[in-house]
């Protein structure tokens, strides 16, 4: 892999445009590798966590209305990081708040940017199959329903568009790969 210094853009100035409850927006002026100037519209986000949680070989999904999409969608449990919060603790917290299930053991899978072209949002994705029953605790403006689905059902929901976001589709691929590996390990 060659050095990428020659691709680097340098920030010349940052103009704040908006600060909201969840996101803020700024316009950065950058100097391009050839010396020219360009602007970049950047959404700042606190970061989020998501959990691939399995109970009796079924995936936990939450159904909720998404204003950006104008409809309900099935997603793996997820939520924003609180200020200064450890991502692993946030993952356990969001899982319990949204599904009622507590987990003691949870494993990090990936941390990924959702929209690197215009946003700094990063999602820390975890995996667990060690769940114990607890109580839900939704935010006051949060209305969701919890489902527990088989791999075949999850794949069908992707085809139907009921599952339609990147983190959840990625989680279903990861789950499928784990099941295939477990099956292969049993054959050996």
């Amino acid at each position: 892999m060659k050095s990428t210094d020659k691709l680097k853009e340098t920030t010349v100035s940052t103009k704040p445009v908006f600060t909201g409850k969840v996101i803020s927006l700024q316009i950065d002026t950058v100097q391009l590798p050839d010396g020219a100037l360009a602007t970049r519209e950047i959404v700042k986000h606190p970061g989020a966590v998501a959990v691939l949680a399995l109970r009796n070989d079924r995936l936990l999904l939450v159904d909720q209305y998404r204003q950006a999409m104008g409809r309900c969608e099935l997603e793996i449990p997820a939520g924003k990081l609180e200020k200064g919060e450890d991502p692993m603790e946030a993952a356990k917290r969001e899982l319990q708040e949204e599904t009622g299930y507590r987990c003691d053991k949870i494993t990090h899978l990936h941390s990924f940017y959702t929209s690197p072209g215009f946003a700094d949002e990063i999602i820390h994705l975890y995996w667990t199959d060690q769940l114990t029953a607890g109580e839900m605790a939704l935010d006051e403006d949060e209305f969701i329903e919890v489902y527990e689905v088989t791999l075949e059902e999850a794949q069908q929901y992707i085809i139907e568009g009921r599952i339609a976001d990147a983190k959840t589709i990625m989680a279903v691929y990861i789950w499928q790969q784990r099941l295939a590996k477990e099956a292969a390990d049993r054959e050996v």
Copy 2:
């Protein structure tokens, strides 16, 4: 799957905040299922395309500086939809502009939302291994380098964080699954 009407939020008003080159921002006031009002910060995006493109069993990646992340990142070729543009044509166009490779045959894999909590960005993901050499045609503020990597290299870049965005990690999982299926089909 039960009806999700009881989760529905109704838009009461929309306040435009910002209109930029790439994104716009609005604040929607919504009525929640319990009748209370809440606000949702929504980023509007024109939508995008991305391509899982294989040449001689190697994945095409583009290295570019991402101001939102403050560093360079390796991603599958991708770009925004032009107004009124067909996503499949956009995928072919972006692939050639960013990598120089043309493709006649390209297959739709998934269309997914990247950040349903605050943005309407949708990415249409395609797959092709039918590439012919052509010429790159980058935008004037676009500086990228093209790499062709093996599956093992791509997986290593994910571990190292050089590949760190949702669409590219998803593409690597899909590629891995296709290779596993091809290997299994050969054994039958």
